[in-house]
């Protein structure tokens, strides 16, 4: 007899392998390639990793390997390593993932970090470590943005993080509560979660197809504190949930996912926005911030908390103050309805309409996988080392699409879809 938790864990693993990765017989699977400042899979997630490994082999994987990470070692490094050594980075972790991409094997990212871990540590060292991570994962990102192979990002609760998300729960109940919420928002509690996911993916695909047929010239966002017009480039492609990798595998890159997203024209954003959720990014928290744009570039930043951190982020490079993504999420999505802030971009971005500062994805253009970097830029695609989501949607938000002829069509009203498919 297995407990309900164990059954849900099995179902979660099943969704990851069958829906997320759609793992093919003969593929290898790397669990835990580095992403941003997260260097691998937390050791405490071994029970989940084991179930995933089992399902992967049962699906015919020829090798499953895990890139583990003990985040305490990061803390020990900051506290004990000699000055001048913080530019060292384990390049082999990135090279390993790059090889998987090159050989058409599969990758599963488990994006979980403890937002409190590096609190009160030397911010200069933390910044250096982040910069090193961004620079070094660059070769991997070059493959990911082209969907060279099937990849999926998931998350799972770990120590410290659960305290941050569920502070009002008893300490001993927090992790269980987190798992329970995660199973809920990932549709795992359905009797047949794989079918439930197929239905969900079909829904998102129909809406995505509608928007692709429209080929709007621009989008207009209005809510209290927000009046923003985002120009869309020619041949932009809306994506949602299911994508096809260059080696022909249909996969779902994010679990959970609620968004439909495309690429803005990097020079054509005008106006201002007010965030509706804090921005948390590897150790830094920004609250109550506002951004003002002109000709696509952020020209004004203010925040009640973390303003310096945000300013530093957008100074990472030239592209960091331009947009790379615009995503639509209905306000009644299960994550939004939970009312929780997860301090984790994978989950939080699926609670709200959002833009991303920084890098745009080639797969958001028609035939984008074959674009050279120069062609991508010429079409209006933005390039940066960073890609950071900023949530600004709410139940009061209206979104319009502006056609080539200047006609205005409703896309979202009061936070919900305003068109039927």
């Amino acid at each position: 007899m297995s407990t309900e938790f164990e059954q849900n864990l099995e179902k979660f693993a099943e969704v990851i392998i069958k829906v997320g990765l759609n793992l093919q017989p003969g593929q290898r699977l790397l669990i835990g390639p580095p992403i941003f400042a997260v260097n691998g899979v937390s050791l405490e997630l071994a029970p989940l990793v084991r179930v995933i490994a089992k399902k992967a082999y049962q699906a015919g994987a020829k090798l499953v390997d895990v890139n583990w990470n003990d985040d305490i070692l990061q803390l020990i490094r900051i506290q004990n390593a000699p000055d001048g050594t913080f530019e060292e980075y384990p390049k082999w972790k990135v090279n390993t993932a790059v090889k998987f991409a090159e050989t058409g094997d599969a990758m599963l990212v488990i994006y979980a970090d403890n937002p409190n871990l590096l609190m009160n540590q030397d911010p200069e060292k933390i910044t250096t470590l982040q910069q090193m991570a961004f620079q070094n994962i660059e070769p991997l990102m070059n493959y990911v943005v082209k969907n060279t192979t099937n990849w999926t990002i998931i998350t799972a609760p770990i120590d410290g993080w659960v305290d941050k998300v569920f502070p009002e729960q008893l300490q001993k109940d927090r992790k269980f509560k987190f798992w329970d919420t995660l199973f809920e928002i990932c549709r795992i509690k359905n009797e047949d979660p794989v079918s439930a996911w197929k239905k969900h993916v079909n829904q998102l695909t129909s809406r995505k197809n509608y928007l692709n047929r429209k080929q709007y010239n621009a989008l207009k966002f209005e809510a209290s504190g927000t009046d923003l017009k985002i120009g869309l480039p020619k041949d932009h492609l809306w994506q949602a949930a299911s994508m096809k990798s260059q080696n022909g595998i249909n996969f779902v890159a994010n679990i959970p996912t609620e968004e439909i997203f495309t690429i803005p024209h990097k020079d054509k954003t005008e106006g201002f926005l007010k965030c509706t959720k804090p921005l948390y990014f590897s150790g830094g928290l920004v609250e109550d911030y506002q951004l003002k744009f002109s000709n696509g570039k952020i020209i004004e930043v203010s925040a009640k908390k973390g303003e310096d951190f945000l300013k530093k982020l957008i100074q990472t490079d030239e592209g960091a103050s331009y947009l790379g993504e615009i995503a639509l999420v209905p306000h009644k999505s299960p994550i939004s309805q939970s009312g929780l802030l997860f301090y984790n971009i994978l989950i939080d971005e699926n609670a709200s309409n959002h833009i991303a500062l920084g890098r745009g994805y080639k797969f958001n253009f028609k035939d984008g996988e074959t674009l050279t970097d120069e062609e991508f830029t010429a079409l209006g695609g933005n390039y940066s080392l960073i890609h950071i989501d900023c949530m600004f949607g709410s139940g009061e938000m209206d979104v319009d699409g502006i056609t080539k002829d200047g006609e205005v069509e409703p896309i979202i009203r009061d936070g919900e879809w305003a068109f039927t498919v």
Binding site: R50, A53, Y57, L63, V64, D65, D70, L73, I76
Partner: protein
Amino acid sequence: MGVHSIILSINQVESLMKSEFEKNLEKYAKLIVKVGLNIQPGQRLLIGSPRRDANGVPIELAPLVRLITKNAYQAGAKFVEVLWEDDQVRLIRYQYAPRDSFEEYPTWRTDAKFEISKNNDAMLSVAAVNPDLLTGKDSDLIFTAHKSFYNHNKPAADLLRRGMGTWSIFTAPIKAWADKVFPDISSTERMTKFWDVIFDICRVKEEDPITAWENHINQLVIRSDFLNKKKYIALKYNAPGTDLTIGLPKGHIWKCANRTTKSGITQIVNLPTEEIYTTPHKDKVDGVISFTKPLPLEVLIDGLKLEFSKGKVIEASAKKGEKYLNKLLKTDEGASRLGEVALVPNSSPISQLGILFYNGLIDENASCHIALGNGIKGCLKNGLDMSKEEFAAAGGNQCLFHIDFMVGSEKMNIDGIKQDGAAEPIMRKGEWAFEA
């Protein structure tokens, strides 16, 4: 006064209350970094360099790994990286993976090892394996996986043999292994007992373990110097079921775990260590030898008996693991010849515990042993600079692997044969027969 002084005294109490175990664990971590690796400022350290039976450090050992990492940084290491493994994921592979997939190897792990040695950086291997993990699994699959590891590991292993990089192996208990070694102790006490034994045999409980290790290594150096002056041409082994002559090559050197790298760093390869060893002549082994302890290679080899002629195994039998053994001996030309001969007195502290650990690193330091497979270049005069051909011409064996087999017992006599054929006692009834 007041609040602050109370807080201070609470801190002091906490430090006093740090358990004996925690203190020993910290001393052990320091010993590994200072004596095992002798970490130099500016070196990188890779913890968990892969072995035949483990792709990395067991995730269970995180508390010790954290202490080692801290000590390494404090000694000036510029970066510490860890290769972890969860042995349950290893087991799941044998349970569920397609049978034709076992040649697949995660090459980045041996690549990381290669990079470390190439740059004269440091690495640690951990010998901490549940000997029963793969019991009942197909030994052909296990052999296929092992051979694939040897092939991918070869470039890294070659660098080590040429004196590049620092490298040390240590051990630490994991739960499933403790259950195997201490079945008669209540299950809640087994880990405590196991740690206690490891602290003992690694001299961690000494007030100053680093000095204790210096003294210990000096003793071993004195014994090896004595044998080096003798320049024996062969060793003759006698014990029940054993009558074996092992020829030694010209210019052979007896050594202990004390290793000096090409870049001039002196470090200790094994914690614990009790052996002195050299490399035998690959074509000059004749007779029969019976093995005295089982050998866990993920497949258990037990009751092993080998017959040699002109250096080569001509007959092999084992009560357990024979199928694996027969494949192993056919791995390559050098697989059926010897690559090491090592002497350990039966009264060694590990041997006196009378415990079978099912662990190569510990058990080999409880018993005289010989190794099948690759010879040791550093045990021949000018060996580190020898080409493959020169090493072979000097009598050195070459093979993808190097596996120690335990042969010693309290009944074993070993003679050294001099140039003129005269025999001198080296060991009698398992103990040293000479004063050094």
